[in-house]
């Protein structure tokens, strides 16, 4: 059980850091609400409900990106990542701890974003909430791994979106499908499949991304 102990120690560290500095989550909150407002002006007046749903998912995607760009900044700064990698714990615990943190940030942003969306556009059903929950897992899993990759290179703020977007297209499909069609179950199951495949892949391969 020391594996989970490591994971929680690392996750707690991330949440503690965010509570102290308070820079990532407030930015995500402001960003997502501003984006929704921009979408109101970007949509024609007779936009369909599906179009509005689609744009919500775009907003969530880019808000996630905003948070993920900062995911490994603290570790990069003082080369702390080297210190963590040298520790005898499993490297995948670093990934899992970070994923928990990212999911927490996303949920914090969505707690504001979804009510705002319901206020500005249309009501939010349980399918949308379920889809968002499943999507958060996938976005965090894949995003954390890619953020670690981008952090090792130059121009990381540019690289992460380019790596991230093609991989998360299926999440958008699943999310919009679950909230906009008559058969949400199929799309929710698909999101679950995506999460399973890519979470396992990310968990298993994180070690290779941070070591040589």
């Amino acid at each position: 059980m020391t594996y989970l102990g490591d994971v929680f120690a690392l996750a707690r560290k991330d949440l503690l850091l965010e509570l102290r500095s308070r820079d990532t989550v407030p930015a995500m909150l402001l960003f997502v609400v501003s984006t929704l407002v921009v979408f109101h002006f970007a949509l024609p007046s007779d936009a369909s409900a599906t179009a509005e749903t689609g744009l919500l998912w775009v907003a969530l995607l880019f808000t996630a990106l905003l948070g993920l760009v900062r995911a490994f900044v603290a570790e990069r700064e003082e080369r702390v990542l080297d210190g963590l990698v040298l520790a005898p714990c499993d490297r995948s615990a670093i990934w899992l701890g970070k994923v928990i943190g990212v999911v927490a940030f996303l949920v914090a942003a969505e707690v504001v974003a979804l009510p705002a969306y319901a206020l500005f556009f249309q009501p939010v059903g349980w399918e949308l909430v379920a889809a968002v929950a499943l999507a958060d897992l996938g976005l965090a899993a894949v995003g954390t791994l890619l953020a670690a990759m981008a952090a090792a290179g130059r121009a990381r703020e540019l690289l992460l979106p380019v790596l991230f977007l093609p991989l998360v297209i299926p999440i958008v499909v699943g999310g919009v499908g679950a909230s906009a069609t008559d058969d949400p179950g199929r799309y929710l199951a698909f999101l679950g499949l995506y999460d399973a495949v890519f979470a396992i892949l990310s968990w298993a391969s994180f070690e290779y991304v941070v070591t040589e």
């Binding site: 290179g153 299926p170 199929r186 890519f198 040589e212």
Partner: protein, 230 residues
């Protein structure tokens, strides 16, 4: 591998590619009878689909080499995986181009979101193009090799998941689904033509792969020698 054997492999693949492609093109444009519904236009099928399958084969080969790299940590697999991805992207672009031409001749548009294959290749193209950006922004070395390998493996997982997503998306957006009228069973002559073209494309990819790999390896050796002389 001795140099002579390597040269042989090179020549054999190039010769195979040349013969098969020549034969395949002749068969496709002169011998095979017209398809019942689409007519003459359908013949691009013999070019487009082998190219698409070859692209998949390249990505699969790259993923295999990537797996070998992560398993054995031998650095030569990095170059092999990278070259395979490069080939895959080239054939991917060709797939998009030939697919676009086929779409234009069949339905009058240069791009149709309703064509599953085309959309899938677009997503894959974006994904593997990002691969090059990743390699460009990280310094050459063991770390870059590892990351490229992991990314390549993600690509291979993305292929089926994306395909599923695209299928699901069709029900979402209700586009007209464009499928080419390829009968479920190819007749004997069609099958033969197809297989010859497929063989030709695969040989072409193999030949280009070996060519580029040899070139890159020579570059690396040259650099090593220059370093040793300093």
């Amino acid at each position: 591998m001795s140099t002579s054997l390597r040269n042989n492999q090179h020549v054999v693949l190039a010769a195979a590619a040349g013969c098969l492609l020549l034969a395949g093109t002749s068969l496709a444009f002169y011998w095979v009878p017209n398809a019942p519904v689409e007519g003459f236009r359908q013949r691009i099928f013999y070019v487009h689909v082998p190219i698409a399958l070859t692209a998949y084969a390249c990505f699969g080969w790259a993923a295999w080499k990537a797996l070998r790299l992560l398993w054995t940590r031998e650095r030569r697999y990095d170059l092999e995986s990278y070259t395979a991805v490069h080939m895959g992207v080239i054939f991917g672009i060709l797939t998009l181009v030939t697919g676009s031409i086929w779409a234009r001749t069949s339905w009058g548009h240069w791009w149709v979101w309703g064509s599953r294959q085309l959309v899938l290749f677009l997503v894959l193209f974006l994904f593997y193009a990002a691969y090059f950006m990743l390699r460009y922004s990280v310094e050459p070395g063991p770390r870059r090799a590892n990351m490229s390998a992991v990314y390549t493996l993600f690509g291979v997982a993305l292929i089926p998941v994306s395909f599923l997503a695209i299928r699901l998306a069709e029900d979402l957006v209700h586009p007209v689904v464009f499928t080419h009228d390829v009968q479920n069973r190819l007749t004997g002559s069609q099958l033969l033509t197809f297989l010859v073209c497929l063989g030709g494309m695969l040989s072409l990819a193999g030949s280009l792969y070996v060519n580029e790999l040899t070139g890159k390896r020579l570059d690396a050796r040259l650099r090593e020698l220059r370093e040793a002389l300093q």
